[in-house]
Symmetry: C2
């Protein structure tokens, strides 16, 4: 798939996700309107919507063509957003800006930052549960909800965040630990994205498992590529300062394994993911191009 076509397809799918998000975000009205405003502000503050785009694509690859996927796509983006809102809190990363805008706690105050994150997380499950009304196959929706909760929680994204927070500034970082952090903190939500698409479309166990593996490779490769770009790119291309890992004496996959092995690992993970997708019967061209874009990326 050439770059121009890919950009065009991405744009169309982003617009699809924006429409779904606006459909499923709660109305901003009533006595609790501040938290509703803060939720909407956080979710609509931008972002590439990669997780819901990948979920919708996985669903289509396995023949899904119903609206049952939409509440899950919205729920996943709400969970991703909640994690950013809470990561930005003063007790965590204490960030005042994200994507050039005030972070939620910086705009609405710390208490409302905590509550808006809690609200997004809870509303994600309320939203996902709306899928029960859109299908007769409640068991499938139940399975999807279980995956959503698990991959967001202690055995997924949140678990990775805990290990990351606890490792910060401490000696003893190992390759095993780094890979665990990447797998949980970054890959888990992508796993839920591709898995839920497959589950709701009625894919076979083996295929659901394959999609989980594709997502894991994408997540881990994305993070190693992050380390590589921090050394090889420029601030102009990346849009953020480079050399920050070296400055913070951060132990990364790259510092432990070296440049050559790191580049090779990104390529291996990326090739394997694409090859897993090629084995499927559906039209996987867009998802393959997306996997390449996210792993062997230049910025």
């Amino acid at each position: 798939m050439d770059g121009a076509k890919m950009d065009q397809m991405l744009k169309v799918r982003m617009e699809e996700v924006e429409r779904i998000l606006k459909t499923y975000l709660p109305d901003v009205s009533g006595m609790q309107r501040t938290v509703l405003e803060a939720m909407e502000y956080s979710v609509l503050a931008g972002g590439k919507r990669l997780r819901p785009i990948m979920m919708l694509e996985s669903y289509r690859i396995f023949g899904g063509n119903e609206r049952v996927i939409e509440p899950f796509a919205a729920a996943l983006e709400m969970i991703h957003t909640y994690s950013l809102v809470h990561d930005d809190l003063p007790a965590m990363d204490n960030d005042q800006y994200r994507r050039g805008k005030l972070t939620t706690h910086a705009k609405y105050g710390e208490a409302m930052g905590i509550l808006a994150g809690d609200a997004l997380l809870t509303y994600a499950f309320e939203t996902a549960a709306k899928a029960f009304a859109l299908t007769f196959d409640a068991a499938r929706v139940g399975r999807a909800m279980q995956v959503l909760a698990r991959k967001a929680g202690i055995y997924g994204m949140l678990g990775g965040q805990v290990i990351d927070v606890e490792s910060e500034g401490k000696p003893g970082m190992t390759l095993e630990k780094i890979t665990r952090i990447h797998t949980l903190k970054t890959a888990a939500l992508i796993e839920s994205s591709l898995m839920i698409g497959a589950i709701l479309a009625g894919a076979k166990e083996e295929q659901i498992c394959q999609m989980e593996q594709v997502a894991r490779n994408v997540g881990i490769a994305f993070q190693i590529q992050d380390d590589i770009l921090d050394v090889t790119s420029t601030q102009e291309v990346l849009g953020k300062p480079i050399g920050s890992d070296a400055k913070n004496e951060k132990v990364t996959y790259l510092t432990l394994q070296g440049m050559e092995a790191s580049v090779a690992e990104v390529n291996r993970l990326s090739d394997e993911a694409v090859s897993l997708l090629e084995q499927l019967a559906g039209d996987t061209a867009f998802l393959e191009a997306l996997v390449r874009m996210l792993t062997v990326r230049k910025k």
Copy 2:
């Protein structure tokens, strides 16, 4: 039901809930063990387990006798606990002690307090989703999950907390707003408790609605009684300082309506709840006694 028998039954049911909680809490092991410890510490720090006890009772009243209710009972207590953990945070009430023990953030640090609350909330939904494996009636479990999420979220407990936080120290408190705060912040989780018991036992729509009303009455009456005891009780009986509402010049149901009307309203709500329960075919004696204990209480 006499007091001694009630105490004995309550004790047995508390032990049942403790057993369920221990079954469903995650194992404390692995790289993310700090958050797992903090979750266990928070949930096992005590509490009367009233919400899961009421859920189990509602389930039994409508003839339920399967294990499918257990993950929901555990999930509800996890959600209640997450709300306490986040309420205690420095940016919220900034409490160092709860029930004579260090609060979660005081013991594990603020970042881990936020993460442990997030973890409990997410794990509650992961736990509830385990019910899908315990029944063939996935639609019923789906409905229960929807109620759980809704009553915990912006249209339930969290919404009430937002209105409460925003009203603090500001003029303009009205009876409507106070009742809304009580209904959302306190009654909503009790509503989910009694409703989910009824839903999973296969109760009729009308009965589910009745249980919601019983729970709403209990929640509102409990809060008005709280105002009353703050004026009429003693520190020895209550186990906490009295007169705090007057000291903080807090506008409450009692200050707006006066003592006579407040006592009458508690009795009305309590009587109505008991009368709704009396209309049901099942054995409602214990739940009726519990409603009386929670509303027209002396401490």
